[in-house]
Amino acid sequence: MADPLQFLLDIAHRVQTREELEPALRELVEGLARLQGWDVGEAWVLGGDGKTIAIGTSWLRDEALDAFVRDSAGRGYQPDRGIVRRVWEGQRAVWYHDLAIVDRKEFLRWEAAERYGLHAGALVPIVAGERTLAVLLFFATETRERDEQALRLMRAASAQVAWLLERRVQIDARHRDQALLAASEGSFRSLFAENPLPMWVYDTTTFAFLEVNEAAIDLYGFSREEFLDRTILDVRPPEDRQALIEAVKSERPQLSRSGSWRHLAADGRVLDVDVTSHATTFEGREARLVVARDIGQQLRAEREEERQRGQLERQAEELERRVAERTAQLTAVNRELEGFTYSVSHDLRAPLRAIDGFSLALLEDRADALDERGRHYLERVRAATQRMGLLIDDLLALSRVGRVAVERREVDLAEVARGVLLELQELEPERVVEAVVPPTLPAAADRSLMAVLLHNLLANAWKFTSKTDRARIELGAERLDGEMAYTVRDNGAGFDMRYAERLFAPFQRLHTVDEFPGTGVGLATVRRIVQRHGGRLWADGEVGRGAAFHFTLGEGTP
């Protein structure tokens, strides 16, 4: 047997120069097996899954034994039993002078061992700290008594390898961490570089850009190099720079929103951005990581909305202004009309009075200077003058009907009609007229306008029945298409339905003044009153058989 010390030095040297774990274990297993005369040497290590143990490397004195390893390797390990498992967990070396005496439930490879005539066996754990890194197995074809010296060498060599393995594992772990770190750094980097939001890192002392991402390059139009040549002050309008310097000074280290800023793009465009930032160290410099969100579109949308709202408001104002203007115009026109009717009542009547007065003065004071014909002419002048006076009065009444405000309230038309008929009767006490008026006839209308309306219709009926025997005037009402229709009916002269439309136009008459006096304004006034109430007016009649005037009074009528 070669010098064990030399062996250890030798093995230490070889193990240390091995970069890889597998060759180092192989050196150890082969070295020990050769030195101590074992026929089979194996190193069991933790499998790739981190749980099961499997043969990592093996050495055979005789190629024939390769079959043993191959045949039984799969059977050498069970998670809850087996001698390998026991040594792995117990971390103590075990020596068997003859494997045949070992419980077959524990020595899982007994069948193959028997077949290939293996008897002696030794198992040594390689333990680093608390952790078992590997178990070395040695078999011999003859039985062998426990050899303490051999075990000591095995342990010493194992410690050498344990140190190596430990370091190996550490290195692996470091590699893994570094790989992980690299991988995670890569993914974090890509979070920055490929972030759809413009981001950059700037030096909080010099304000220089230290790093920018693609989105920033895209939004601002500077290349990466141009960015890194600039400071964050360069991407602000000059008037905002002082405010920025103040803001950077007062920035809190934690994540903070610094609100909306105006930034300058490479082409001079002003960008509206919402800025969020966080303190960081970048390549050993005090820095801030900035995320800038382009809110230009949002602002533009808001401004557009604002503009549209403003436009709507302006339109509404314009509309209101125009309504006010039209109202003012209408008021002016009304005032003018009022002034006109006022003038009519004053100025047109004055000359009429003069014509009539001086005609009468002629008749009275100079009657002797006039013959019969002359006096007749003067009478005709007076009659015409007075008729014109009536026309003016009726016109004024018609215009007044158009001007007064309609005050709708409950009116008993029957009561109003009785009053009118009484007046008519008093004016012509000799007339015998049968008046048929219901006890009450409620309507929602302007009382004074209803008085004018009924006066006109009843006076008409009164007039046109003046040549009728058994004259009869009737006031009634019936529901027609859901609304009340009121009727003033008479059995007088009537009219030709062909001319019905002309009835309601001012100055239109269907009879001569000699037959029935009148100005032709009365029914026009009636129509105006009905219109003012939002109602309808129509008439039917037949020459010689009377006429009927129907009217409705619009909404609110019971």
């Binding site: 004053h346 009468l360 006076g389």
Partner: protein, 150 residues
């Protein structure tokens, strides 16, 4: 006969000469023999009644007993004349009859509101006007007991 007291004068405030002549004729025909003074505009009427300008110093005994006032007058309107008269102690109680062509409701209402004693619309028919004048003269110059002079 409705002849009034000869000392009682009537002031007719009227700018239309036709109306002046016809009104005077109507008084004549209605046998109202009182002296009728005529002024053609509101300002002149106020000067006379309030004893201003050329009428300054006029004795109160010379004051007219009745004013017939047209509403549509040059310079100062009839309604303004009425308002002014009612604001002076001297003419506060002077009978004023508004005599006009207008029967506009606002004129009637405003006249009474400002203290007119009567409102007469001049009819086109002169015969009617004579009758109205006769009644006016009878009432205001004969029947009416005026406010005691102070």
């Amino acid at each position: 006969m409705t002849r009034g007291d000869g000392n009682k004068t009537i002031l007719l405030v009227e700018d239309n000469p036709d109306d002046v002549e016809l009104t005077l004729r109507a008084f004549e025909q209605a046998n109202v023999a009182n002296e009728v003074r005529v002024v053609g505009d509101g300002a002149a009427a106020l000067e006379l009644l309030l004893a201003r300008g050329e009428h300054e110093g006029r004795e109160r005994g010379d004051d007219p007993q009745l004013v017939l006032l047209d509403l549509k007058l040059p310079r100062v309107s009839g309604l303004d004349v009425l308002r002014e008269l009612r604001s002076h102690e001297r003419t506060q109680l002077l009978p004023v009859v508004v005599l006009t062509s207008s029967q506009e409701e606002r004129d009637v209402v405003e006249s009474y509101r400002l203290g007119a004693n009567s409102y007469v619309r001049k009819p086109v028919d002169f015969a009617e006007f004579v009758e109205a004048t006769r009644q006016l003269g009878l009432y205001w110059l004969v029947l009416n007991v005026g406010a005691p002079e102070r």
